[in-house]
């Protein structure tokens, strides 16, 4: 699999896929996309990188243990609902605010953080499985 062409193209493919995954995650509320799909794209990106350069490279690149990423995602998703208590609405009710940054109105919501949590869980959970399996292949 580690042909010259693949190894030259892999970093670009990976970078583009990661960018795409974030894009898909953020636009998910209004257009096709969201945390689940975005997360899967990112996993595929890491898998490509892993096949091209080996697992250690990927592990160094993502720095944190994938399971730690998944855990923080789960925590983020769970915590995003806690804010509801401050407004006396049921747990995980969506809360919205539209602050203006440099003249651009940005919609910020607890739902967004929840979706980022989903994204992180999918990325972390499945990447850790894929990487461990690839690692075995190397060893």
């Amino acid at each position: 699999m580690r042909t010259l062409i693949f190894r030259t193209a892999a970093p670009f493919i990976t970078a583009l896929m990661l960018l795409l995954s974030v894009f898909v995650l953020l636009r998910g509320h209004n257009d096709p996309g969201g945390g689940f799909i975005g997360g899967l794209i990112a996993v595929a990106a890491f898998a490509v990188q892993g096949i091209a350069f080996g697992v250690p490279v990927v592990r160094r690149a993502i720095y944190f243990h994938p399971m730690a990423i998944a855990g923080s995602g789960l925590l983020l998703a769970a915590l995003s609902g806690v804010l509801s208590y401050a407004f006396a609405v049921p747990y995980l009710s969506g809360l919205w605010s539209a602050p203006s940054l440099f003249g651009v109105t940005v919609d910020v919501s607890t739902v967004l953080f929840f979706d980022i949590g989903v994204y992180l869980v999918v990325v972390g959970g499945i990447t850790s499985i894929a990487l461990s399996l690839e690692e075995r292949e190397d060893g």
Partner: protein
């Protein structure tokens, strides 16, 4: 009222709070933390003491909060004479025990953990005796079993401790299940799920046809917890725990939980033939067996443990005897026993701590070295022996007055009580007198008086036994009478005092003391006789327990071998055969096949996509190499994703694309990991079988989907989501809005599952990474 309710709730939580703080406090203050932590139970004690006035006037205090309102479950308490006396014993003795444990385990590396466990137990036990609702009673009942397990196994590096802890947990845990079933039956029979309404319901339970079932099940809980014969064996084994635990859990408090339950239910369950036969029968047997086995022992703690078994038997016997006097006797004896047995256990621990041995035959002449201990021991033994002036004397007088010689049954009970009491008298003095008199013996440690933290507890409890006897009028008004009233279910007044009153009871007392002295003097001979007898019998419930556990293990290993044979293909076959059966059998049985669908007009590109899927499937079946098969499966999946796209489900199609891609990657990796042969070598028969299973599964799913789509479609939900997705959830993509907002809680659960699955898979791969471990081979096969 509201403030009082809240305060009681806080007080019930106090021990748990103390448990959380204990390790930190111990790290900071060492053994002295015992004194500080003792503040917790003493506050509890003072709070409940403040209720004494109201309760002793016959007014129970109740309170609580809704716990699970949808199920009608409350966190509620009922404080009448019975539960208040128990709460005071638990918190009062608990205070002394914490001080004692501070000295006893001083310098132990895990003392903080010990304090934590014992405070947890205290919280559980308090909750148990004040519980009003059944569920709360059961939860706290189980908590006492679990904390008891932790405490018995505190010295977890010793095998004997671990075994004893497990044994206690299994026996009392099984009893707990029996109690749960019993409480459910009671609820079924009467419709009540709390004690206060049940206690006010008169004959509702007794007259129910379910009475016998409830009776047997509740007894299963009470008898295991209170170590009644033949479940008594776990209690002496529990002496593996550090002595403060034995003094607290296994004499003064936890083992009385069963007796508490029987006393609590006496007004609604008692007064029946079954109750008045079974309880005295088991109680009396336990009394005799316990005292006889106590005589056999030479270890101070074991001697005391078996007399505790005996005392519990006596209490059960009295509770089941059915007369008001017997109830009064049980109440008096319960209070007296908590005081003197707690004190004697602490004395035994003190002797062990200061001399290095607790073998009664190796101790002697300690009266000069340990005078305060001697005083405490003697005072406690005098109460246990039932000599005048002491509270134990009152209890014993009342027992004899209650039993009497009214009929043959009562006379038999009296004889059993006299025999048991005289043997207990002998054991009491063997523990409290023998180590202190006679010639000095050489002990592993140079004996000297222990620190104040060690002798304070036994001395206070022993003195309390004397003072309670002297001020009996006050004790009866405050404790005995309200408690007896609660047990009897009607107002009862205890009047007995230490002023000697000539009569049958006093005569029996004298006989008991006489026999006791004789037994004490001939203890060596008795011990030899019992030892010989037990050797002849050779089998006991303790060994039976081991055999039972071994049998269970064998059986479960056998079952596991059949169900989990470790062969992946068997698992897959079983799973898919079951899936096919579930899908097809109901359809065939009820004749609910879907109607033959009208074949839709397809356009050329749609035909092309379907052709792609079919080619993919065909390639899977005909592929020679597994890798080709996996990739072909991916082609089929991508074709389906295209179909989704065409029919207006972009999100679904998007996800399907990603899933198919990753599936191919991961399946390929797994395949290389499993080192499967590259091609398929199944014999023809196997292939045909697998093919038919696959075909049936596919047919089942296809038919089911057809049937589902032929049902009338209820679009209420779709309409709701379409209407409100934009307006209340600020999103145009309905699918995503459902995932993250409308059904956010479901998603939270799902991502938790993703996370846990990932962890599990990671763990499985790691196991496989050690090829030398035999276990790993078995799992990965």
């Amino acid at each position: 009222m509201q403030r009082g309710t809240f305060l009681t709730f806080i007080v019930l939580l106090l021990p748990l709070l103390g448990a959380a703080l204990a390790p930190l406090l111990t790290r900071w203050a060492g053994g002295k933390a015992g004194w500080l932590l003792a503040i917790v139970p003493s506050l509890v004690f003072l709070h409940f003491l403040g209720m004494l006035g109201m309760v002793s006037e016959g007014q129970p205090i109740t309170g609580g909060f809704d716990w699970i309102p949808s199920l009608g479950v409350r966190f509620s308490w009922l404080l009448d004479g019975l539960s208040l006396t128990f709460a005071l014993l638990i918190s009062g003795i608990g205070t002394l025990i914490l001080i004692y444990a501070g000295g006893y385990l001083d310098g132990h590396p895990q003392q903080g953990r010990f304090f934590s466990f014992i405070l947890l137990f205290m919280g559980a036990m308090l909750g148990l005796v004040v519980s009003d609702s059944f569920l709360m009673l059961f939860v706290f009942w189980e908590l006492t079993s679990i904390t008891s397990f932790l405490l018995i196994g505190f010295d977890h590096e010793r095998e004997a401790s671990r075994r004893a802890a497990l044994q206690a947990l299994l026996v009392t845990g099984l009893g707990g299940l029996s109690l749960l079933a019993g409480l459910l039956v009671v609820t079924q029979a009467t419709g009540f799920n709390d004690l206060s309404t049940l206690l006010g319901s008169g004959d509702a339970l007794r007259s129910s046809p379910l009475y016998m079932a409830a009776f047997v099940l509740v007894l299963g809980g009470a008898f295991t917890k209170s170590a009644q014969f033949p479940f008594h064996f776990w209690l002496p084994n529990a002496m593996e725990a550090p002595t403060p635990v034995s003094a607290y859990l296994h004499s003064a408090t936890m083992v009385k939980a069963g007796v508490y339950l029987l006393m609590r239910l006496n007004p609604v369950m008692g007064d029946t033939a079954a109750w008045e036969t079974v309880l005295p029968l088991f109680g009396g047997t336990t009394l005799l067996v316990g005292t006889l086995l106590a005589v056999r022992q030479t270890d101070l703690k074991l001697m005391l443990a078996y007399t505790t078994v005996a005392s519990l038997g006596l209490l059960v016997m009295l509770t089941g005897f059915g007369s008001e006097l017997a109830v009064e006797a049980a109440v008096l004896y319960l209070i007296a026993h908590s005081l003197f047995k707690g004190a004697l256990f602490m004395v035994a621990g003190l002797l062990d701590h200061e001399t290095g041995t607790r073998d009664v035959t190796a101790l002697g002449g300690l009266r000069k070295a340990m005078p305060i201990t001697f005083a405490a021991a003697l005072l406690a033994a005098l109460s246990m022996g039932g000599l005048p002036l002491f509270f134990g004397f009152l209890a014993k007088e009342e027992i004899y007055a209650a039993l009497g010689f009214g009929n043959g049954w009562a006379a038999l009970a009296t004889l059993v009580a006299v025999a048991g009491n005289s043997l207990m008298f002998a054991v009491a003095f063997a523990v409290a007198l023998k180590p202190f008199i006679g010639a000095e013996r050489k002990t592993p440690k140079q004996a000297h008086e222990g620190p104040v933290s060690l002798w304070l507890g036994p001395l206070v409890l022993a003195l309390a036994g004397l003072l309670a006897g002297l001020a009996s009028g006050w004790v009866h008004a405050g404790f005995s009478s309200p408690m007896a009233s609660a047990v009897a279910g009607r107002a009862v007044e205890v009047t007995i005092s230490t002023v000697p009153h000539i009569g049958m009871a006093l005569l029996l007392s004298a006989v008991t003391v006489g026999l006791g002295i004789a037994a004490y003097l001939s203890l060596g001979t008795l011990r030899g006789g019992m030892a010989a007898l037990l050797t002849t019998i050779g089998w006991g419930p303790d060994r039976g327990f081991d055999q039972f556990v071994r049998g269970m293990l064998h059986a479960s290993v056998g079952v596991t071998r059949i169900v989990q044979n470790g062969r992946m293909d068997t698992y897959m076959t079983v799973t898919f055969v079951c899936v096919a059966a579930v899908l097809l059998v109901p359809m065939i049985l009820f004749g609910e096949f879907p109607a033959v669908p009208v074949f839709p007009d397809l356009q050329l590109h749609e035909w092309a996509i379907i052709l792609m899927a079919v080619i993919g499937i065909g390639a899977v079946v005909y592929a020679k190499s597994r890798l080709v098969a996996i990739v072909s499966l991916g082609i089929q999946g991508l074709a389906v994703a295209l179909l989704f796209m065409l029919f207006g489900a972009p999100d679904l199609s998007f996800t399907q694309f990603m899933i198919e891609t990753l599936s191919v990657v991961i399946l390929a990796l797994v395949m290389t990991r499993l080192r499967l042969a590259l091609s398929d070598h199944r014999p023809l028969g196997q292939k045909l079988f697998d093919m038919s299973v696959a075909g049936l599964c596919g047919a089942g799913f296809g038919l089911l989907l057809l049937k589902v789509t032929q049902q009338p479609f209820n679009d209420a939900l779709s309409q709701f989501f379409n209407a409100y997705s934009r307006t209340i959830a600020h999103g145009r993509n309905v699918v995503n809005v459902i995932i993250v907002d409308f059904r956010g809680f479901d998603t939270l659960g799902e991502i938790a599952v993703v996370m846990i699955t990932g962890l599990a898979i990671l763990a499985l791969i790691r196991i496989r990474a050690k090829p030398d471990a035999g276990k790993a081979k078995e799992i990965g096969r």
